[in-house]
Symmetry: C2
Subunit: 325 residues, 2 copies
C-alpha cells in the first residue's frame, strides 16, 4: 500500500471538490491508503472511506514558511508531519505555495547530495497529451551549474514517471540554441550538462523554440528564468483566451459562429487547460510533495492525486538518491 | 527635412514590398528625404521618387558584425555609413539582426555616457492600440544596475515618442511584485531605479502581470530575461494561433462557425499581429537604428518607416543624451 497525506483545507473552492476527488480517486486505486487532514465538518463525507485526521487550524494563503512551521495544529503542517514521521510517502496541498514548499523543505529535509530542491511542472504544450517538463519554476532564484545539472537528473526522472517518456530529451533554457549563447552561468552549465552521463542532454534552446519544438521533453532553467518563462506562457495564454472570448462576443454572427464551432473551441480550451496537469511538484526532498493549484476543482485535484500516486509508486525519492550520487 | 537611409535588400519577401512601403510612406510625408540603398534593378521603381544609391552586395542572413563591417559594398553597410557621415539621421533594414545591430553599434558608436545600447520593441498587449515597451530584448546578455537604469530612461523616451504615453509607468521584470523579489542584480536595480528621478518607476513585476496588467507602459529587463520573456510570448502566441486554426478545422460545423465568426477572429489576429509594431529599435547609439522584421511585408515595413520617422522627428538621440547626463 502507498500512503498519501492529503491536506483538504486552503483551496479557493473549499474542501468539498477535494473530497469528491479523493472519493473518485479511491474508487480507481485499491493500493492506496489516503490520510485526509482537515477541519472536522469538512471530513464528514470521508468517514469510512479513508483515514481522517482532524486539524483545528487552516494556514492562510499569505503564510510564509515560519508561519506554517509554527502552526502545528494546521491541516498543512499535520499532513507534512505524516510524511516526516514515515506514516505517509507523500503529501498534497492546495494551500499557500510559498508556505507549503518552504515548510516541506525544512521539515522533510533535502535528499542527501541534493544541493537545492526544485519546483517542477508539466506543461501541456505541443501535441495534445504530450507534456513538457519544466524545472525550476521558481523554488529558487539563483542557481549554480551543479544545481542545474541536478535539476536535469530530477527532471528526467519526472518526465519518465509522470509523462511516460522513455529517454527524455533535456534542453537548457537560453537566449539561443548555440552552445556559446547565454549568461556566464548558462555557458558553464551547458558544459557541465554535456558531461552528465545520466541524462540525454541535447543542448541550449531559446524560449520560443522551447514552446514550439516537438523534440523538447525537459527544460532546465534557473529559478528566475524558469519563473519568467512559465509566467509569460501563463500570461499570454490568459490574454489570448480573453481575445478569443471577445472575438465571439463581437456581434450576432460571431455568437452564432461560436455555437457552431463550440466543439473545436472546447477541445482547444482543454489542451490549454493548465489544471489538467495537477499542479507542481517539489523535487529533491525526502518525500513526494505536490502543490495542487489554489483554485483546484475536483478534476484538477484528482490529477494532483494521480501525480502524487505515480511519484510514490515509482519510488522517485530513491531514484533521485541514486541519480544524484 | 528628416533624412532616412533605407536598406531595401535582405528581406525574406524580396525588395518590392519595401519599395511599395517607401512609395506609400512618401505620399504621406513631405518633410522626409529618403535615401534608398539596394541593387540596381531593385531600385528601378524608386527613380524620381527618392534618392537612390546602388550597392553591389547583399548581407546574408547569417552574417555577424565583422562580416557586415567588411562588406563595404553591401546595401546594409552603405546605409549605416550614410548615418555615420551625417547624410541621414537614421537607418532601417530587414537584414541579419545580429549583423545589423552590432555593425551599427560599432560604426555609429554609443552616445556619450550610455553604457550599453538596448534593443527595444513595442508589444501589442493589453487594450487594442496600446503598446507596452520592452527593453532590452536581447542586444545584451548580462547587464549592470546602472545599465538597467539607463534602459529605463531610454524606454520611457521611446514610450513617450512612439506609443504616445505622457508619463510612462516603468516596471522592472522580476519573479514577483515585491521589492525584495529577484536576483541580486534585480534587488539592487530596484533600489537604483527608485532613486532615478528622470523616470516614473512603479516597482517590480512578475512576467504574468507584465502581460496582463493594464498599468504597465515600460518593462525593463536584462538582455537574457528580456529575451526569455519576449520569445515566450511569441512562442505561446504562435502555439495558440495553431490551436485556433485546428479548432475550426475540426468538422463541418466548426468550419461553418469560422465563417460566422470570421470578423471577430480577424480582429483578434490583428491585435496579436506583431508585424504592426514595425520591428525593434536600437537605442543608445548616435543615430536612429530600426531593425524591421525579416519577413516584412509592405504594411509592416511602412510601420518601421514610421517608427524611424517618429524617433528622428522627436530628436530622440539628443533626448537620450540629455536624459543620461
Amino acid at each position: 500500500m502507498y500512503a498519501m497525506a492529503v491536506d483538504i483545507m486552503g483551496g479557493d473552492n473549499g474542501s468539498q471538490p477535494l473530497v469528491d476527488a479523493i472519493i473518485k480517486f479511491l474508487k480507481k486505486h485499491d493500493d492506496v491508503h489516503i490520510i485526509a487532514v482537515g477541519q472536522k465538518e469538512q471530513l464528514e463525507r470521508l468517514k469510512g472511506i479513508c483515514e481522517t485526521i482532524e486539524a483545528k487550524d487552516v494556514v492562510p494563503m499569505t503564510a510564509g514558511a515560519l508561519d506554517v512551521l509554527r502552526m502545528k495544529e494546521s491541516s498543512m503542517m499535520k499532513a507534512i508531519t505524516l510524511v516526516k514521521e514515515g506514516k505517509a510517502n507523500g503529501v498534497v496541498s492546495c494551500g499557500s505555495t510559498g508556505g507549503f514548499l518552504a515548510s516541506s523543505t525544512i521539515s522533510l529535509k533535502m535528499i542527501k547530495g541534493v544541493k537545492r530542491a526544485a519546483l517542477v511542472t508539466a506543461m501541456p504544450l505541443q501535441e495534445k497529451g504530450k507534456y513538457v517538463t519544466l524545472l525550476d519554476c521558481g523554488a529558487n532564484i539563483e542557481n549554480s551549474c551543479e544545481e542545474l545539472s541536478q535539476f536535469a537528473v530530477m527532471g528526467s526522472l519526472y518526465s519518465k514517471v509522470v509523462c511516460n517518456i522513455k529517454n527524455p530529451r533535456v534542453y537548457l533554457l537560453s537566449n539561443g540554441g548555440e552552445d556559446e549563447k547565454g549568461t556566464t552561468l548558462i555557458k558553464e552549465a551547458n558544459k557541465v550538462l554535456k558531461e552528465n552521463t545520466k541524462i540525454n542532454f541535447i543542448g541550449n534552446i531559446e524560449a520560443r523554440e522551447a514552446i514550439l519544438d516537438k523534440n523538447v521533453d525537459v527544460i532546465v532553467a534557473d529559478g528566475f528564468s524558469g519563473n519568467v518563462f512559465l509566467k509569460s506562457i501563463e500570461g499570454t495564454a490568459k490574454y489570448f483566451s480573453k481575445l478569443i472570448k471577445d472575438a465571439f462576443k463581437k456581434n450576432i454572427f460571431t455568437k452564432i459562429g461560436y455555437l457552431f464551432s463550440k466543439k473545436g473551441i472546447d477541445d482547444m480550451k482543454k489542451t490549454m487547460d493548465y489544471k489538467s496537469v495537477g499542479g507542481a511538484l517539489l523535487l529533491g526532498v525526502n518525500g513526494v510533495v505536490v502543490k495542487a493549484h489554489g483554485n483546484s476543482d475536483a478534476q484538477s485535484f484528482e490529477s494532483a492525486l494521480n501525480v502524487l500516486y505515480k511519484m510514490i509508486k515509482n519510488d522517485v525519492v530513491n531514484e533521485i538518491k541514486k541519480g544524484i550520487e
